[in-house]
């Protein structure tokens, strides 16, 4: 019998589903960072607002990367519904703590997808994921380094102003 399934899509149903989950996760991250950007702006933390706006754009790009991959492989990418985005945050520091947690969660999820791909012998998707895993090193590094600024500089006095100024200089370079 002719294999109509493979004629339509090179992605298995399982992998298509988990990639669609990841699309949703990246879109959620994008919305979350946009919300953080607005909060920082409201608090007078100009650079942090800019930082999160940029992060938000990047997450949307990640989402679209997954989105096009699913469609290009014959699957059906689903435009995600995003809910439960907080509009208020406890503190400047907690915003970055949440960022790091978010990024660690994303890394974990991409690891899980890679695991499923390896088991299913879908090495095309597996190699597609390598770029994201590499990207996550940077994302986690930057969030962690910024968080350390809170200890190094301290929030008292003009500390928050100084942290806001310094966080733009945090960047990751592969050695």
């Amino acid at each position: 019998m002719k294999d109509l399934l493979k004629l339509k899509s090179s992605l298995s149903e399982e992998i298509e589903n988990i990639l669609n989950e990841q699309i949703k996760l990246e879109a959620h991250a994008s919305s979350l960072y946009l919300s953080m950007s607005s909060w920082c702006d409201d608090q007078g933390l100009e650079n942090a607002a800019e930082f999160f706006a940029k992060q938000s754009d990047e997450e949307r790009e990640h989402m679209l990367k997954f989105f096009h991959f699913v469609n290009d492989r014959g699957g059906r990418a689903i435009s995600p519904e995003i809910t439960n985005i907080p509009a208020d945050f406890d503190s400047f520091r907690s915003v970055f703590e949440q960022t790091l947690q978010q990024e660690m969660y994303v890394t974990e999820q991409i690891n899980n997808i890679a695991d499923v791909c390896a088991k299913a012998k879908d090495y095309t998707t597996f190699s597609f994921l390598q770029w994201f895993l590499q990207e996550q090193i940077e994302e986690e590094y930057v969030a962690r380094r910024i968080l350390e600024l809170f200890d190094v500089i301290g929030e008292a006095g003009t500390g928050r102003w100084e942290i806001d100024k310094q966080l733009l200089h945090v960047s990751y370079e592969e050695k």
């Binding site: 019998m1 002719k2 294999d3 109509l4 399934l5 339509k8 899509s9």
Partner: protein, 155 residues
């Protein structure tokens, strides 16, 4: 039996329940996209006492035979239809005494069919679609195993 007919469903609010009026009209001149794959030998995918799913290798589609109707689906649409049927809350249908809960209506996109399903139909359709999906996936799996086998033999 309803043969290649269409249901037209007009919900009327009657007392506190829906009275579903279905009437079947002759649709032979409106079949259009539903036109049966003629002169092509269809391959059996899965058959049960209550229906069958067959594959047309000419148009790369599936035909669902159920309750005297034939409906054409692409592979994706067939699976979407299966998901839709699987999502029906049978328990609610059985426990809710209102008339609107006696039947579930599904009008799959890209078909001209309207399925009006009783609990019994749903159970039968679920079984049929589950079997069909399993066989479609099994066939695909066997094909790739054979391809892999060929590669190993040739190398």
């Amino acid at each position: 039996m309803i043969n290649s007919g269409f249901f037209y469903v007009l919900p009327y609010v009657y007392l506190d329940s829906f009275l579903i009026i279905c009437y079947i009209c002759d649709s032979s001149n409106r079949l259009g996209t539903q036109m049966f794959c003629k002169n092509v030998k269809l391959e059996d995918v899965f058959e049960s006492e209550y229906g069958a799913v067959r594959q047309c290798n000419n148009k790369n589609c599936y035909w669902l035979y159920f309750n005297g109707t034939q409906t054409k689906f692409t592979v994706r649409d067939l699976f979407l239809f299966k998901n839709r049927v699987d999502q029906i809350n049978i328990e609610k249908m059985l426990t809710d005494s209102s008339v609107s809960c006696d039947f579930e209506i599904i009008m799959p996109f890209r078909t001209e069919r309207c399925f009006v399903l009783s609990v019994c139909d749903i159970v039968r359709l679920k079984e049929l679609l589950k079997g069909a999906k399993f066989m479609i996936e099994l066939n695909s799996e066997i094909k790739s195993c054979l391809n892999r086998g060929l590669y190993i033999v040739n190398n």
